[in-house]
């Protein structure tokens, strides 16, 4: 093949020496290139290109553009969704924070109320205990006084009974007569 290329180059150099168009024409002829065939091939190529463009390239491009649009819309939707998600996260964080603040307030209020209630209950319990203690002391005092009175009465009864027995034995008629005289004077003076 190398000798063929060397021959072609030599002919081209020879043609170039005689003029550019004549050289180009000789080259085409040497390779068998016919202008008519080239024209028909060009026309066929254009027809084929038009058919392919109409029925293959154009729908494909349209489909691709549509797909690109869909992808772009999807990306845009994803960005919007992400933005909404971020906003929702921010909002939820704010809501959670507000809820935490409210919960803390409610907790503090509940603790305060519980403490007040506990203090009140404790005060009432102390008061009731004091009342019970006072009543118990009063009851004990009354019971003690009652016991003392009963003991005093019983002792007095025993003393009187013993005294009666002693006097019944020890009093002489003279003593009784003297007492009777005194009693007579007392009753007569009523």
């Amino acid at each position: 093949m190398l000798p063929l290329l060397l021959a072609t180059v030599e002919e081209a150099n020879h043609a170039a020496a005689s003029g550019p168009l004549a050289g180009l024409q000789q080259t085409f002829e040497h390779f068998g290139v016919e202008p008519k065939l080239i024209l028909f091939q060009l026309i066929s190529f254009l027809i084929l290109f038009g058919v392919l463009y109409k029925f293959a390239i154009k729908p494909t491009v349209a489909t691709m553009e549509e797909r690109n649009a869909k992808i772009a819309a999807g990306l845009k939707h994803a960005e919007e969704t992400q933005a909404r998600l971020a906003a929702a996260q921010t909002e939820s964080a704010a809501i959670i924070k507000a809820a935490q603040v409210d919960a803390q307030k409610a907790l503090d209020e509940a603790r305060k109320v519980a403490k007040e209630f506990g203090d009140k209950q404790q005060a009432e319990a102390i008061t009731r205990a004091a009342d019970l203690l006072a009543k118990a002391q009063q009851s004990i005092e009354l019971e003690h006084q009652k016991m003392l009175n009963e003991a005093r009465s019983e002792i007095a009864r025993l003393v009187v009974k013993t005294t009666e027995q002693v006097l019944a034995k020890k009093l002489s008629d003279a003593d009784r007569a003297a007492y009777n005289d005194a009693a007579t004077k007392e009753l007569a003076s009523l």
Partner: protein, 128 residues
């Protein structure tokens, strides 16, 4: 048997007839009993019981029962009778009744009234 109202009213009238100058008269009482025996009023037993009750109360009012422990002289009884007569403004006689529970002293009962000056009463006062 309890006396009804009419029987009590008749007993009260008979009792009033038995008094002379505010004192129960034996003669009047005898007359009342004779009237009851002669005329036999309605429910005579209940009538006589009511009449006897009123007479007993009236006699008790004119009698001072002197309960005593130990000897008591007649002079003391007379003195008590005089004091009660003066107190009630009617004739009251005193009668003695021994009561050893008094230990010493006297208890005078006139009707439902009781006057006492005895060792037993003073000891009872101490034991209260």
């Amino acid at each position: 048997m309890a006396a009804d109202k009419q029987t009590n009213l008749l007993a009260k009238q008979l009792f009033k007839l038995s008094l002379v100058n505010g004192v129960v008269s034996p003669e009047q009482v005898a007359g009342v009993l004779g009237w009851v025996e002669q005329y036999a009023p309605h429910r005579p037993v209940a009538l006589l019981k009511a009449y006897q009750h009123r007479i007993a109360i009236e006699l008790a009012k004119s009698r001072a029962v002197v309960e005593h422990a130990g000897p008591v002289s007649d002079a003391a009884l007379q003195q008590i009778a005089a004091a009660m007569t003066k107190r009630y403004s009617r004739a009251i006689t005193a009668s003695a009744k021994p009561n050893a529970k008094l230990l010493a002293g006297l208890r005078v009962r006139v009707g439902s009234d009781v006057y006492e000056s005895s060792v037993a009463s003073q000891l009872a006062t101490l034991s209260v």
